[in-house]
């Protein structure tokens, strides 16, 4: 009872104003929970209904559905099309769909031959009506008729059914309005800026929602999660440094452009594959520019200044890195091109070590592991493990060297695990974080009412320690909610991998997600002293323009693996794609 009364108590006891704030304090986490739960039900509860792109008719008359753009044909159980015949190899061939509607078949080192219409091929085109023979087993490739495609599109569950993303977005809008109401009280002088900034945010999110409705896309959960996190980000900015709100909005705008362009490019594989080389080149250029123009901020030289704006090239390279690393299955299983990617990763890692940014190096390393694991299909895993372990060894050795030679790195690491013993010096950031998390309680002290904003500049409380910042002002519940939101996206990527169209998308989404999650891990665990503080941003929430842009870019990959019916603008509708014209 006393606890309950305390909940409504303000500085002057229980007053009308204190009750108003108390209701707000309770409403925000409740709404956040609803938003996260509704999105989760939609993203994690959907039925994984395969898309059929073609049929293979066996001599027995049996029809086998071809459910991906890339399909492994073979005798083993984990093949996409299981052909349980003695003459067929375990991994026999890959059947790949082309953007023009045709198909190719690739022999992947089978003992038996691969023939198209009686001619042996190593890799060759297959048209509808052609007879494909694997180790003597004959089958005919048949198209999905327009009628069938339409039927299939109609029968598959539409994205967001039962959990209308529109309603979730309404809840988010209410959430944002309540945030504005609270900030308007606690930051009276900045009312206009705060209301304008949130107004723009609300406008942009509804504009995107409506635009996607117009092109018949109804899955908006992924964007909703991003906008939810950005709502918190803007609240942190309003509290820490109100001028940053517009900067973050501009970065968000650029990020959304990257998101849309990249998402659109990812619709078609040929286009996406061409983009890879450009992306790889841009990545290299960005790092070279960084090395030449880099400025030292907080001990790391991973910043460059252009026309009054500062940004971290390594953030944008993440997108290039994933594009360069993603690959289609026909290439994966024919063992091409892996070393190129290994070298590319080594180059990036080297640059980051040179630039003294170990947080980013760790992130890229995890991204590399995610990609390498998916690409290691029939590749001797030992080689990859060796490469991985080798890179880790280099990273650790470099980190050890850096700890010896670079004071700011050494400081960060030496405080780790002993923060309370040196709470005014090496453990300052983390101990203040824990103190403020504790002070915030479950519901927070109210937006703008915390102490963390005093260390927003040098102390990086609005970026590196944003978990504590949010805990203090918004409450531990809200801080947990933003982690749930992110983890949920991770589960969605894993779940949707089974019905992905191409391994290119699976690799892209999985790597993007791994990078986002590892950033959250390094950020949160660093703040609470589970790991050394590495100065990594929390996706979408940490105040930082480059980080905001890169997060939107990474989100495009996740959007591209959302094959729920009519879900994603980054996925072409099946009606057109499947049919022979």
């Amino acid at each position: 009872m006393e606890l309950l009364l305390d909940f409504f108590r303000g500085p002057d006891g229980v007053t009308l104003l204190s009750v108003y704030h108390a209701v707000l304090r309770l409403s925000l986490p409740t709404l956040a929970l609803l938003i996260v739960i509704r999105s989760a039900r939609s993203l994690l509860g959907f039925r994984r209904e395969p898309e059929v792109w073609a049929w293979l008719r066996l001599a027995t008359g049996e029809l086998l559905p071809v459910t991906h753009w890339e399909n492994l044909l073979g005798r083993k159980k984990s093949a996409d099309i299981v052909l349980d015949f003695a003459t067929v190899s375990k991994n026999h061939a890959v059947l790949t769909k082309l953007d023009d509607g045709g198909w190719t078949v690739t022999d992947i080192g089978a003992k038996g031959r691969v023939e198209v219409n009686g001619n042996q091929v190593l890799s060759g085109r297959v048209n509808y009506g052609d007879t494909l023979s694997l180790g003597g087993l004959e089958m005919v490739l048949e198209p999905v008729s327009q009628e069938e495609a339409r039927l299939q599109a109609d029968s598959r569950t539409k994205a967001g059914k039962g959990n209308s993303p529109g309603l979730t977005l309404v809840l988010l809008t209410v959430f944002q309005l309540l945030v504005v109401l609270e900030l308007a009280f606690n930051r009276e002088g900045d009312r206009v800026t705060i209301m304008t900034a949130y107004g723009i945010l609300i406008g942009v999110q509804w504009l995107m929602f409506i635009a996607q409705k117009i092109i018949k896309r109804s899955g908006f959960e992924i964007e909703t999660i991003a906008f939810f996190l950005i709502s918190i980000d803007l609240g942190v900015c309003a509290s820490a440094n109100v001028g940053e709100m517009y900067k973050q909005l501009i970065a968000m705008g650029v990020g959304i452009v990257i998101f849309l362009v990249l998402g659109f490019c990812l619709r078609d594989l040929d286009r996406a594959k061409k983009l890879r080389y450009l992306a790889a080149a841009v990545g290299i250029l960005l790092f070279l520019a960084n090395i030449v123009l880099g400025r030292n901020i907080n001990g790391s030289r991973n910043w460059i200044y252009l026309g009054g704006f500062s940004f971290q090239p390594s953030e944008l390279v993440k997108i290039c890195f994933i594009l360069a690393g993603a690959s289609t299955m026909d290439r994966i299983v024919t063992r091409r091109n892996m070393w190129g990617f290994v070298l590319y990763t080594a180059f990036i890692g080297g640059c980051l070590v040179y630039l003294n940014d170990f947080g980013a190096a760790a992130i890229f390393f995890v991204g590399f592991l995610a990609i390498a694991l998916l690409r290691s299909s029939s590749y001797p895993s030992a080689v990859l493990i060796l490469v991985g372990v080798g890179m880790l060894a280099v990273l650790v050795a470099a980190a050890a060297l850096a700890i010896k030679h670079f004071p700011h790195v050494a400081n960060r690491f030496s405080g780790y695990g002993h923060i309370w013993e040196d709470s005014f010096n090496k453990g300052y950031q983390q101990t203040r974080s824990l103190m403020c998390i504790a002070a915030g309680g479950l519901f927070g002290l109210g937006l703008g009412n915390g102490w963390m904003h005093y260390m927003a500049g040098v102390g990086a409380s609005d970026t590196d320690l944003v978990f504590a910042y949010v805990s203090e002002e918004w409450g531990l519940l809200m801080a947990i909610m933003m982690i749930f939101a992110l983890a949920m996206l991770g589960l969605f990527v894993v779940r949707s991998a089974k019905v992905a169209r191409s391994s290119f998308y699976t690799i892209g989404a999985s790597a993007a997600m791994s990078i986002l999650i590892v950033q959250a891990i390094l950020n949160v665990f660093g703040t609470v002293d589970f790991l050394p503080l590495t100065g990594v941003t929390f996706p979408f929430v940490s105040n930082g323009g480059s980080s905001m842009m890169s997060c939107w870019g990474l989100l495009a990959f996740i959007k591209a693996c959302d094959t729920r019916q009519n879900a994603s603008f980054a996925v072409r509708l099946t009606e057109k794609g499947g049919a022979r014209t």
């Binding site: 492994l72 984990s78 996409d80 504790a438 002290l445 991770g490 589960l491």
Partner: protein
């Protein structure tokens, strides 16, 4: 595609690591948030480097520390010096351990609302110590290094937990510069809780407890002392030949030769058992203060080592607080109350903490405790007349621990066998010479002060 999809577990593992980490953190939050929020320098509860905690008072209500006044410490220099180690100094060399442990209770922190509903009006931390008794103890120590402890072995209240030397927190010495003669050595250490000492002959009580438990007939035996006894080629000596003595005479004479024999007869395992029963090598937590563990290790000890260990030499080390509680257990018939320093806390007009008294595990059987009491009472009557306060039965044993030439640690420990004043005590003086002559007068002064305090409360 299937095999590739199956390998997305990597992202799943990362997500699980994130969720597991957050879960771990939430558990830690519910375990430790009150400590975090009240840690030195915490921005929500510290103003200008001082905790906004209201007042700390001693058992009689005397204000020892008040966060609201300009100068937070007591106005009396004597009291400031006597309570320094309990309250902590300004520079943070002596941490305010009690405040830290109870701060969250003092400003009404709760883990649900955080500091949002915090209030410090009427906050009060009530201690069990008597500032007057501590002041008397500090004066009696007269600048010598050591510790004085007195506690009620029936209730657990610590009346005196003094560490000497001490200084005025408002006028701290420049320890680095002024310490040429070593007088400030270890001044920041709370000796009563955090120092360990070679016990010397007070350890014979522990040995005797093990021996009597082992062989109840021992009490009726006699021991012959020729002034020297050879054990395993090593000479164990007494200041003079005590001749034939009963057990109580042997203890009163503190006869090393007799106790060497008793120790060897009792054996390692019984001694180890007794050391464990008295928690000699354990650390006990008293209101956020963890006592330092003593040392008692007979592994690899030859007979001569064993003999010395039973006499309180060899590698034996005791912590004053731990040994005081053991004395309390003898007085209490085998068990004592667990010691504590904080009686209660109040905040915003309501009580936020009240002590929950506990008993120690049994340290010795009731019969053996009774025998030890008789022996220790005989000691006082025969040997330490100076501590024999009229009207109460003081039981005690002294020790002179040799820690190098002319560097003896004087020890004196015991209890009052009186239900009106159930007080156990210990006095340790470093470089103090003989135990009884140095420590007994200090013990008497402090015990009388404590008896006065208890009388005043009736």
């Amino acid at each position: 595609m299937k095999s590739i999809a199956n390998r997305t577990w990597f992202a799943l593992v990362l997500a699980c690591v994130l969720l597991f980490g957050v879960l771990t953190f939430v558990i830690r939050y519910f375990m430790f948030a009150d400590r975090w929020v009240s840690f030195t320098g915490s921005p929500h509860v510290y103003t200008n480097g001082r905790l906004d905690t209201g007042e700390i008072v001693d058992r009689s209500g005397e204000v020892l520390y008040s966060a609201d006044s300009k100068q937070p410490y007591s106005d009396s220099t004597k009291i400031r010096k006597a309570t320094l180690h309990l309250l902590g100094d300004r520079a943070g060399n002596i941490p305010p351990r009690l405040l830290r442990a109870y701060a969250s209770k003092l400003f009404g922190y709760d883990k649900l609302n955080g500091t949002a509903a915090m209030e410090t009006d009427g906050a009060e931390l009530k201690l069990t110590v008597s500032a007057q008794a501590q002041a008397v103890a500090l004066q009696a120590m007269n600048g010598r290094k050591g510790a004085v402890g007195v506690y009620n072995y029936r209730t657990g209240e610590i009346l005196c937990a003094l560490s000497s030397p001490s200084f005025d927190p408002l006028d701290p010495p420049n320890v680095e510069k002024e310490n040429t003669d070593g007088r400030w050595d270890g001044v920041y250490i709370y000796r009563f809780f955090h120092a360990t000492y070679t016990p010397g002959s007070i350890f014979k009580l522990t040995t005797l407890a093990a021996a009597l438990d082992n062989d109840p007939g021992l009490a009726d035996e006699t021991f012959v002392c020729e002034g020297v006894r050879i054990v395993n080629g090593e000479r164990i000596t007494c200041p003079k030949a005590h001749g034939e003595q009963t057990l109580k005479e042997a203890l009163a004479h503190s006869c090393n030769c007799a106790f060497a024999e008793i120790t060897l007869r009792t054996g390692k395992s019984a001694l180890n058992g007794q050391a464990e029963a008295t928690r000699l090598t354990q650390s006990i937590e008293i209101d956020g203060i963890n006592t330092r563990q003593g040392h008692f290790d007979l592994s690899g000890a030859e007979d001569n080592d064993l003999a010395w260990a039973g006499i309180g030499q060899y590698t034996d080390l005791i912590n004053p607080c731990q040994y005081m509680v053991w004395m309390g257990a003898i007085g209490g018939g085998g068990v004592a109350a667990e010691p504590y320093l904080v009686e209660s806390t109040r905040c915003g007009g309501r009580q936020t903490y009240a002590v929950d008294r506990e008993e120690t595990p049994r340290m010795v059987s009731a019969e053996t405790a009774e025998k030890l009491k008789t022996l220790m009472r005989y000691n006082v009557k025969e040997m330490y007349g100076s501590v024999d306060i009229p009207g109460v039965e003081v039981c005690a044993k002294s020790g002179t621990a040799e820690v190098g030439t002319d560097n003896n640690t004087a020890t004196f420990a015991g209890f009052i066998a009186d239900e009106k004043y159930p007080l156990a005590f210990i006095v340790v003086v470093e470089e103090g010479g003989a135990g009884s002559s140095t420590c007994a007068p200090i013990a008497r002064t402090v015990l009388e002060a404590c008896i006065n305090v208890l009388d005043g409360e009736r």
